[in-house]
């Protein structure tokens, strides 16, 4: 076979429908979170333990973050690890239904104080995550950790197992009235979720996507190997501190996790400063927002570890949550969606047209002007949410509305891109039929 005639092998790439269902559902959960904030208003900003705050948090972490992360992993596993998932479309369908249904049940359980919904949501999410983890373990069996990305991915899956197990335990404890130290466990659950799962996964993917999409130098090897390990060690220390009731170990571990996160964010900023792409595109700007906001949140974590009374200050924990989730993880994820969705659409069209009919270029599938406008709306919503921590009576409902609008904008932009993809598919079908004659 002539090498130049070879094309990138697509038979192992999952169909577009596999990841797309996750990407199109996630913004709807974020819209619901915004509407919930709008309905609850100032009451939601009073404490992290209010039903509304718990429901909104899980709409974002489970409904948005987990949704996109699992969908993206189903797509990206063959590319970053050379591992093939068995029956990716069937897995995607099952995980998508379980995640969406479980997430909604959990939110109903929190908001309306319904034990059956908490229990059902926890069990459904636990079962769905278990199915996903088994499929991942099956695909990754025998795959050596030849890159920091593959090892980071394996560590992140361990983090996912911990966060889901802790979440299920707490959902059952709340529903059944078990006597557990829920505030301590909730902090640990958040630590495993945001650090051990989302944080390590983000870093493992950043090692690949930041140099590839933003044309920066690579992440140096030594810190790339060390970052996931440092976060994992910190979370294991934190867990031991909770189990053996050693408050000093919990604080020391939180400090270590914060330092590791700050080092990763600082390194990423340094690499971005050396990028070769002159134009600052939307993904780059979203990542700049994500890095800045994460750094602020991690500094708060470090301060609270050194001076625990800080976390008792009014609005401290709510502000931390907004900074790390709304200002940190969501911008990272949306920034990546704006690269992944047009690339996948283009790749599937290109593969469909083979060499006979060309696919439309990526900017035609997802125009810059649309995503720039959405980013501006998101930036306004983020600032309003932060300001609402200080002025909940004045800004609480407005911030919720702004967040719902910004995420409605994200949904609109992505649905439009899929519409253009479908239209391009029809056009190409017509052109291929004409060429065959």
């Amino acid at each position: 076979m002539n090498s130049s005639k070879a094309v990138l092998s697509f038979e192992n790439a999952p169909p577009f429908a596999a990841p797309l269902r996750f990407f199109l559902t996630a913004p709807l959960f974020a819209v619901l979170a915004g509407l919930l904030v709008m309905i609850e208003g100032p009451a939601l900003f009073a404490s992290r333990w209010t039903p509304g705050a718990l429901a909104a948090t899980h709409l974002l972490t489970v409904g948005f973050m987990l949704q996109v992360m699992l969908g993206a992993l189903i797509q990206i596993l063959p590319v970053v690890a050379g591992a093939d998932l068995p029956r990716p479309l069937a897995l995607a369908r099952a995980v998508h239904v379980g995640l969406s249904g479980g997430g909604l049940l959990l939110v109903v359980g929190f908001w309306f104080g319904q034990p059956w919904a908490l229990e059902g949501g926890g069990l459904l999410l636990g079962g769905t995550a278990s199915l996903f983890l088994v499929a991942m373990l099956f695909a990754l069996r025998g795959v050596p950790s030849t890159s920091p990305t593959i090892r980071g991915l394996k560590f992140a899956l361990l983090g996912l197992a911990f966060v889901v197990a802790l979440g299920l335990l707490m959902a059952l404890a709340l529903a059944e009235g078990w006597a557990l130290p829920l505030p301590l466990l909730a902090d640990l659950h958040a630590g495993w979720g945001l650090g051990g799962w989302a944080g390590i996964l983000l870093a493992a993917m950043a090692y690949v996507v930041v140099p590839m999409f933003q044309l920066t130098p690579a992440y140096p090897v030594r810190p790339s190997w060390w970052f996931p390990l440092a976060v994992l060690v910190a979370l294991l220390g934190w867990s031991c501190g909770v189990v053996f009731e050693q408050a000093w170990l919990v604080r020391l571990s939180q400090l270590l996790a914060a330092i590791a996160g700050l080092a990763f964010a600082g390194l990423t900023l340094r690499l971005q400063a050396q990028r070769r792409r002159a134009k600052a595109d939307t993904t780059y700007r979203y990542w700049q927002l994500g890095l800045s906001s994460s750094i602020a949140a991690l500094l708060m974590l470090a301060i609270a570890a050194l001076w625990p009374a800080a976390s008792e200050l009014p609005g401290w924990t709510i502000a931390f949550g907004i900074l790390i989730v709304v200002g940190g993880f969501l911008p990272f994820i949306i920034g990546m969606l704006y690269k992944i969705v047009p690339f996948l659409a283009w790749m599937h069209l290109q593969n469909y047209g083979a060499t006979r009919v060309m696919a439309p270029p990526m900017p035609k599938l997802l125009p810059d002007v649309e995503i720039n406008r959405q980013m501006q709306a998101y930036g306004v919503a983020f600032v309003l949410l932060l300001a609402a921590v200080l002025l909940p009576d004045w800004l609480g409902r407005l911030a919720g509305l702004a967040f719902a609008v910004a995420n409605g904008g994200l949904a609109w932009v992505l649905y439009r891109a899929v519409g253009r993809y479908r239209q391009a598919w029809l056009d190409m079908t017509l052109k291929l039929a004409i060429k065959k004659r």
């Binding site: 192992n12 990305t149 140096p220």
Partner: protein
């Protein structure tokens, strides 16, 4: 660009996909059987590995401290 391992080098470290794949395939076409080429990249190209294996080419990968993957491909 040359390299101690081989004079045939594709430096794809600042190329966007699918540039590295296309440049590698084009260079492989210019080589004789048994000749080697080197691909420099900031990520491990698993989809390329698959195509190389399908086409009967062998490869060895080394990860350098600066994060560069050196992939030595034998046609």
């Amino acid at each position: 660009m040359s390299h101690p391992k081989t004079p045939h080098v594709v430096d794809a470290r600042y190329m966007e996909p699918p540039g590295p794949f296309e440049a590698t395939m084009e260079m492989l076409d210019t080589l004789k059987d048994g000749e080697k080429m080197l691909l420099l990249l900031f990520r491990e190209p698993h989809p390329l590995y698959r195509v190389l294996r399908q086409n009967g080419h062998s490869y060895e990968t080394e990860l350098l401290p600066d994060g560069t993957f050196e992939i030595l491909i034998t046609r």
